[in-house]
């Protein structure tokens, strides 16, 4: 399985990347870890005459935590997310999610930027970023702009990013309260049959805020405002969880594939969301 031939570039700053994207238009594509793009190129489902490797763009690396805000450079790998003690303290849901992505070898290469920019509904980080209400920072020929993770996804592999823009990083407020990422998959290294990201806060036994997002249950990640609202003001008893699950089921739109028929996916989504809510509530 050899991909079609391409010209290879390895610029060392964002300006260089944007210039190449400008020059080659649709024929150019950036590569981060390559662990989504290379398999697609090998299958010849992606044709990339001009391949721009981001690995030397130092400005896209690094994890910054300060003033209650967390910023991850696009090139931060899943391995680094797991390995970072500061993140484990301030946003443990990142480690919990990253540990459920692929396998160790893939996680040394796979990046946050590649995972969220890819637009594959199977990727786990987009749902997580919607749950965290993250902002994505994009840079293009006209400068920088920010798009909320909750507005970024349009359809499978279609996002708000323009072809001549790159994603430079994601940032979000350090989540408060309890948090959990639960994922049902057929085996290690598999994409989710259903996954749920939950962050919520508890005061005197009452839920005061909640955020719920689901992975691989539609052609885009699904942030469910109604499911989140169903928990607020309750003591997250069984009835409240059932209401949140019912609201979530109205917002997802799974399709039948080799992970199962629609009814099975709805069933798996219900169980996974119930587990994630209970786990986040216990930790709150």
């Amino acid at each position: 399985m050899i991909p079609a031939a391409f010209d290879y570039y390895r610029p060392n700053d964002v300006k260089g990347v944007i210039a190449l994207l400008n020059e080659h238009g649709d024929d150019a594509r950036v590569m981060a870890g390559g662990h989504s793009l290379i398999p697609m190129m090998k299958l010849r489902m992606a044709e990339v005459p001009h391949l721009i490797d981001l690995q030397d763009v130092v400005a896209l690396k690094g994890i910054a935590i300060g003033g209650g805000r967390i910023t991850l450079g696009a090139l931060v790998t899943q391995h680094e997310l797991i390995d970072h003690d500061g993140l484990a303290q301030t946003a443990p849901i990142l480690r919990e999610t990253a540990r459920q992505i692929a396998d160790p070898q893939v996680r040394y290469m796979g990046t946050v930027g590649g995972n969220v920019a890819n637009g594959d509904p199977g990727n786990d980080m987009p749902g997580l970023m919607q749950c965290l209400n993250a902002d994505f920072t994009l840079v293009g020929p006209d400068g920088e702009r920010t798009v909320a993770a909750r507005d970024f996804y349009e359809a499978a592999y279609m996002t708000a990013r323009e072809d001549d823009e790159i994603l430079v990083g994601v940032s979000f407020d350090a989540p408060k309260g309890g948090q959990a990422y639960e994922k049902q998959k057929r085996k290690i290294g598999d994409y989710a049959t259903a996954a749920a990201a939950v962050v919520l806060t508890k005061e005197n036994g009452t839920c005061t805020s909640a955020s719920i997002a689901m992975t691989n249950l539609s052609d885009i990640p699904v942030f469910s405002q109604d499911a989140s609202d169903a928990l607020i003001g309750t003591s997250v008893e069984d009835n409240a969880i059932r209401a949140a699950v019912a609201a979530m089921l109205k917002d997802i739109d799974p399709v039948e594939d080799n992970r199962g028929p629609v009814a099975f996916k709805q069933h798996a989504a219900s169980i996974i969301l119930t587990r994630a809510i209970k786990s986040a509530w216990d930790r709150a």
Binding site: I2, A4, H35, I38, K42, Q105, M109, G189
Partner: protein, 164 residues
């Protein structure tokens, strides 16, 4: 046809320079160009881990990396870990504890395990299973692979302690 690129690689401590198409997959560079046939091609789809090598301190499936990406990197294959006359502790341990049957997955297993033990010299059984999850074996049922790695960790730690 794309242009060939000038590639520099350090593999198992030895420098190599050659011209290659950027799309050449690193596993083919290693096996066909450099005659290092330890890393195997199992699935070619980033799933089995038989092609695992260490690149600049990362365990990587070399079927999912272009040679152009590896340009300038340091690569270690199973050939750089031990030799028939001087087996690595992990290799000795796999032999001792029946960590292999057909042996096809073994180079990838041992290359990955060597990196795992470097990062975590004293892993629990659960940590070994989690850290080896990117390597598939069709023969052993994994039990003896885990046993081999835990025994090698104990042995390496004993050697370290004795040296202190």
């Amino acid at each position: 046809m794309s242009n060939k690129m000038h590639i520099k690689l350090n593999v198992n401590g030895e420098d190599h320079e050659f011209l290659a198409e950027p799309r050449e997959l690193l596993i083919h560079t290693l096996r066909e160009r450099l005659n290092l046939t330890g890393p195997h091609v199992g699935c070619e789809t980033s799933h089995c881990g038989a092609c695992t090598v260490t690149i600049d301190g990362k365990s990587v499936k070399s079927c999912t990396m272009f040679v152009a990406q590896a340009n300038g990197a340091e690569v270690t294959t199973i050939e750089g870990i031990g030799s028939p006359d001087a087996l690595h502790v992990l290799q000795e341990s796999f032999r001792e504890h029946h960590g292999l049957q057909c042996g096809f997955c073994t180079p990838g297993m041992i290359t990955r395990a060597s990196k795992l033990l470097e990062e975590n010299p004293n892993p629990t059984e659960e940590e070994v299973r989690f850290g080896m999850a990117g390597n598939l074996c069709r023969c052993t049922g994994y039990q003896n692979i885990v046993k081999s790695i835990l025994a090698a960790a104990a042995e390496l730690n004993a050697v370290k302690e004795a040296a202190q």
